[in-house]
């Protein structure tokens, strides 16, 4: 290692730590382990334990302390779930209450790091430089501290930003079967926040270690890791870790929200968290309900997603004790739900659909038909994002929404193409072109200006005379043309995202000029 030991610094550190330890006689509550099984311990005693409190267990052989989370308080015993390894625990071991609930480190020091559900670094880059900790379970800000969603989160996806816009502080569900591009959408959204100042938290729950490593590598490759925290509870970790990981990630995101910044958190995915919680609940012998989930599985997700919010200036000022004035904070949540064979009426999907402010449906059929991102524009909605759309995108996206809606109605008639009247045929043609235009490669997010150019070209019919296969090459060349010849316009559109006649005139001029002279 390149770091050199600095003796004075270390003894200083030790001294401050020793000073922090309270060495007066302590009164504590003790109990004994009655049984250990599948990560669940039953404890006799502990009369004063609180629900959700951390219980200190005997340390592991390598000296790391072990904790459990008290979940079931019964007459003769306490049911607790062990956080981490439990092989060293024995019947008869003494345990004690801590009087604390679980906390994780929060702060800027976590950016660019990969941590586990307890906030311990697992990326081999050394200790986390975080001065603060925060409890993982917190009550969401109340109504008086909230503010309406009015600023956009640009995902960089044409189809999402134009038709299903997401606002800062919104909860937008990404739902679809396996292999439909849910994680791709989430990762691209993170990559697109490079210049927006939005801090991102990616919570991986119950995923393969290799998938997590892939996400980390991609984020690093596209320079997006510096504004991102990755909380990983992989499939090999205990159900308890998978259960608490979203709450840990949320606490890390709330830090940014509460100091008047914007953050985006992705829970990938909440289905697996519900499975982990179901496992814990069944082992704790809580009565099973629908699909064997416990009775409080709705609350499991609602209390988590309720913490995603846009808070007003007063909240931020109060929270920072006046250090930050006149800034609003937000935490946007993009929960991911994996459906089984497109069944959105299963228990967990319906719950999360009802909690969130809209959903992006990704469909296997569309994905296999080559429409990627496989967004089903018909049943995807955003209930609050419209208010947050930038002026330019809002003005231009109406046309594509309408064109696609009409296309869907008429699509069934497409096979009678020759027998249709001219108007219907025109609508079909337009619909096919817009559908083609909405296709987009992974890791290629679009800026606002690029989005505006594409949407304007589609709405004003500049694509109508192109063969469908040429639409994407045309779009790409058009973007390049604007970047080369209308740099100022592009910059203004990206920065201000305004809309007026002059802006439209330039847009029109640029596209017409390109259609005459350009090649694609």
């Amino acid at each position: 290692m390149a770091t050199t030991l600095n003796p004075s610094e270390i003894s200083e550190l030790i001294r401050t730590r020793i000073e922090k330890v309270k060495l007066a006689a302590e009164a504590r509550n003790e109990g004994t382990i009655v049984s250990v099984s599948d990560g669940i311990v039953r404890i006799h005693g502990l009369a004063d334990v609180m629900s959700g409190e951390m219980i200190e267990l005997p340390p592991a052989p390598n000296g790391t302390s072990t904790f459990a989370l008290a979940l079931n308080l019964e007459r003769d015993s306490v049911g607790a779930v062990v956080l981490g390894e439990y092989e060293h625990l024995r019947e008869g071991d003494t345990v004690k209450t801590t009087g604390r609930i679980l906390e994780v480190p929060v702060g800027r020091g976590l950016l660019g790091r990969v941590v586990d559900a307890l906030g311990n670094p697992i990326d081999g880059k050394g200790p986390i430089a975080a001065q603060q900790t925060s409890p993982i379970e917190k009550v969401a800000p109340g109504v008086i501290w909230r503010k309406s969603v009015s600023q956009p989160v640009q995902t960089g996806y044409k189809s999402v930003d134009s038709m299903i816009p997401i606002g800062r502080g919104q909860r937008e569900l990404i739902i679809g079967d396996r292999q439909t591009g849910k994680t791709a959408l989430a990762v691209d959204t993170i990559i697109n926040q490079k210049s927006s100042g939005v801090k991102c938290i990616y919570v991986a729950i119950g995923q393969k270690q290799s998938s997590i490593a892939n996400v980390v590598r991609k984020l690093e490759e596209f320079g997006a890791l510096d504004h991102t925290i990755i909380v990983a509870a992989s499939a090999s970790e205990s159900a308890a870790m998978q259960y608490i990981a979203p709450y840990s990630g949320c606490a890390m995101g709330e830090y940014f929200r509460d100091i008047g910044e914007d953050a985006l958190i992705i829970y990938d995915d909440l289905t697996k968290q519900a499975w982990a919680y179901r496992q814990i609940s069944l082992l704790l012998k809580r009565p099973p309900g629908r699909e064997a989930y416990p009775g409080d599985v709705f609350y499991l997700h609602s209390r988590l997603l309720e913490r995603a919010a846009r808070v007003n200036e007063e909240y931020v000022e109060k929270h920072t004790k006046g250090a930050v004035k006149g800034k609003t904070g937000s935490l946007t949540a993009l929960p991911v739900i994996e459906t089984q064979a497109g069944d959105v009426s299963a228990f967990v999907p319906t719950n999360v659909i009802s909690i969130t402010d809209g959903q992006i449906f990704l469909e296997t059929d569309l994905f296999n038909a080559g429409i990627r991102p496989a967004v089903n524009a018909g049943i995807s909605v955003s209930r609050v994002g419209g208010a947050a759309q930038t002026k330019i995108v809002k003005k231009l996206s109406g046309g594509v929404k309408l064109a696609l809606a009409q296309y869907r109605e008429l699509a069934a008639f497409a096979q009678f193409a020759s027998d249709l009247d001219a108007a219907t045929r025109a609508q079909l043609e337009r619909g096919q072109r817009v559908t083609e235009l909405m296709k987009q490669k992974q890791y290629a997010p679009l800026s606002i200006a690029q989005l505006a150019i594409s949407l304007y070209a589609a709405e004003k019919g500049y694509l109508d005379d192109l063969p469908i296969a040429k639409i994407l090459p045309f779009e790409q060349a058009l973007h390049a043309h604007f970047a080369a010849n209308f740099g100022d316009w592009v910059k203004a559109a990206n920065d201000k995202a305004d809309w007026n006649d002059a802006i439209e005139a330039t847009l029109k001029k640029g596209i017409e000029e390109f259609k005459k002279t350009g090649s694609w």
Binding site: I14, R17, I18, K20, V21, K22, L23, A25, E26, A27, R28, N29, E30, G31, V34, R42, H44, G45, L46, A47, D48, P59, G63, T64, S65, R75, D76, S77, K96
Partner: protein, 177 residues
């Protein structure tokens, strides 16, 4: 599956109510302790489920000497045997003691220290604990060199740790973090 303690509770409560009604708490406590100790013996325990042994004979085994076979305690034991809950005798005895102490407003406290504590010091501790728990204190002293220094007061769930070992452990966990 319920825990032994949960199963034992109604028996202990019933035994306690009976004993209190007959004003024989101490006698019942002694008898229960005897039965529990007898059941603690592996040889007796192996007989508990033996079909060659009649219920009355098993009750006779557990009955303390001098207790008549038609006493209330004998009836209680035969009820346990009939319900196949005789294994729970130890839990019942412990719960009975708890109830008895609760009714007498006393609490059993274990004081562990590295060396013997002088009587005046022990009395001071006892007085302080009496104030804290608002109960009469049954103090039991134990010498435990592992404590190193200071003392640990153990009153059921509540443990007051003023030992050198406890402090060292806390220091260790604070530094290891």
């Amino acid at each position: 599956m319920s825990e032994p303690l949960t199963l034992a509770r109604p028996y202990a409560r019933a035994a306690f109510e009976t004993a209190r009604a007959h004003n024989a708490l101490a006698a019942w406590s002694g008898s229960l302790a005897f039965a529990a100790q007898a059941m603690g013996d592996a040889r007796v325990r192996s007989l508990a489920g033996d079909p060659r042994l009649s219920h009355a004979e098993l009750v006779g085994l557990l009955l303390p000497p001098g207790e008549s076979a038609d006493s209330a305690f004998a009836a209680f034991l035969s009820l346990l045997v009939e319900n196949r809950r005789v294994d729970l005798t130890a839990e019942i005895a412990a719960l009975f003691e708890e109830l008895k102490r609760e009714s007498e407003r006393t609490i059993r406290v274990t004081l562990r220290s590295a060396s013997a504590i002088p009587a005046d010091r022990a009395d001071a501790i006892k007085a302080a604990l009496k104030k804290r728990f608002a109960r009469e204190i049954e103090l039991e002293q134990r010498i435990d060199p592992g404590v190193i220094g200071g003392a640990v007061i153990d009153a059921g769930d509540v443990v007051i740790d003023g030992s050198v070992r406890g402090r060292l452990e806390r220091l260790q966990s604070a530094l290891a973090q």
